[in-house]
């Protein structure tokens, strides 16, 4: 079966906000007034920028403590990985696994997946296009679960406020962690999945 034609080849641009088709020369969608682009502007450069910024901030997010707790006068600062180990030792391996997935596996997967998508799109590769398209949707789907640690630190800091008996406070690491989540989400949004399929245009054109 032949594949469906693509809007840009027909001289059309579709509005992502409302689904309306317009001629490629139109700057704003006539129906919802959103700005129209055949492809997201500077998609690769912007995605690289967000991704690299997230990667850099991911280092302090993991090495700096995310929370300070004092129980009966004994205070300690803990990093995210420290928290995972604590849960594991306490026998809550399921919660340890959950935090590990949300704060280590999900961000790492996003870094690797977006990196792969960027490199292949840049090289205009036609390799594994359906799988790459699925990989992008997977990245979009898992993106925000990394906010889990931020929520846990917020709840524990609000609850454990017993003066001498015990207190909990957020620490700088959680700021970096929250910023990493936001930056990776911006990175995923900046990437234009249509670029995966634009490589096909080269195949059909004679090289000059």
């Amino acid at each position: 079966m032949n594949l469906a034609p693509r809007a840009r080849d027909l001289g059309l641009t579709c509005c992502h906000t409302c689904g309306q088709a317009s001629s490629s020369t139109t700057a704003h969608c006539p129906r919802c007034r959103s700005r129209l682009h055949a492809r997201k502007p500077d998609s690769l450069a912007r995605t690289w920028a967000f991704l690299l910024a997230a990667l850099i901030l991911y280092i302090p997010a993991n090495t700096l403590p995310v929370m300070y707790t004092s129980m009966l006068g004994r205070g300690e600062s803990s990093t995210i990985l420290h928290g995972v180990v604590e849960f594991w030792k306490a026998g809550s391996w399921d919660i340890a696994l959950l935090i590990f997935i949300a704060s280590v596996a999900v961000p790492s997967t996003k870094f690797l997946a977006l990196g792969t998508l960027l490199v292949t799109a840049q090289r205009r590769s036609t390799w594994a296009q359906p799988q790459r398209a699925r990989l992008y949707r997977f990245v979009e789907l898992i993106g925000y679960w990394s906010m889990l640690d931020v929520v846990v630190v917020a709840l524990v800091s609000a609850l454990v406020q017993f003066q001498l008996l015990g207190t909990a406070e957020p620490r700088l690491g959680i700021v970096f962690f929250g910023l990493v989540v936001v930056l990776t989400m911006f990175a995923a949004m900046s990437f234009d999945p249509r670029l995966i399929w634009d490589s096909d245009d080269d195949k059909n054109l004679p090289r000059n």
Partner: protein
């Protein structure tokens, strides 16, 4: 003019298709990239509005009542979502407090208000005042709604604290469970079909 548009686009790969009528629960997928194009079940405005109004009530309960209560040697404390955000915004952590406030409170609230507003008028086959603005905002903020992450966070916090203290889930936690389900059901409906079903005045005078 209440018919859906004759063509659909795949926003993931730019393919263009002629729209076909689908049976209920049928899903049209893109032949190039396998992304979901559209669903057979037509958006039932009354049903969606009922869900949205329920979500509004549950949202108030979820935010007004404590999600977790703790007790230790005669002392006790409780916290709800907003108190947790304030506790997080302590000193240098203000930046992450703002992120949490936006994703856990402001965005879900805006979604409920704007969707309710649009649907209230859609029942009378009319575009609400500010329809275009509301629909654009709804599209923009959609990825930033994180109520389900808050729910998982409540669960982890309960387990984390239960080793040291007496912990019970408050009414806010149960309301958050209901809210998460409601938001997930609402999100299954592609409200962009309202653009076709509620045609605007091309002059823009009455839209």
């Amino acid at each position: 003019m209440t018919h859906p548009a004759a063509f659909v686009f795949c926003e993931h790969c730019d393919s263009i298709y002629r729209r076909h009528e689908l049976q209920r629960d049928e899903v049209a997928r893109c032949g190039r990239c396998c992304a979901v194009l559209y669903r057979g079940s037509r958006v039932d405005i009354d049903y969606l509005l009922a869900l949205t109004l329920t979500a509004a009530i549950v949202f108030v309960i979820a935010n007004a009542s404590p999600v977790i209560r703790i007790a230790v040697s005669g002392l006790h404390n409780q916290a709800n979502l907003l108190q947790s955000i304030v506790a997080l915004s302590h000193g240098s952590a203000l930046a992450v407090g703002v992120v949490a406030a936006v994703t856990l409170f402001v965005v879900p609230l805006l979604q409920i208000i704007l969707l309710g507003w649009v649907l209230l008028f859609a029942r009378a086959h009319r575009r609400a005042p500010g329809f275009v603005f509301a629909m654009r905002v709804l599209h923009r903020i959609r990825p930033w709604s994180m109520t389900e992450v808050f729910l998982l966070g409540v669960l982890v916090a309960i387990v984390k604290l239960s080793g040291l203290l007496h912990v019970i889930a408050g009414p806010g936690a149960w309301a958050t469970v209901v809210l998460t389900v409601l938001i997930a059901v609402i999100a299954r409906h592609d409200i962009r079909s309202l653009w076709d079903r509620l045609p605007g005045d091309p002059t823009g005078l009455h839209s």
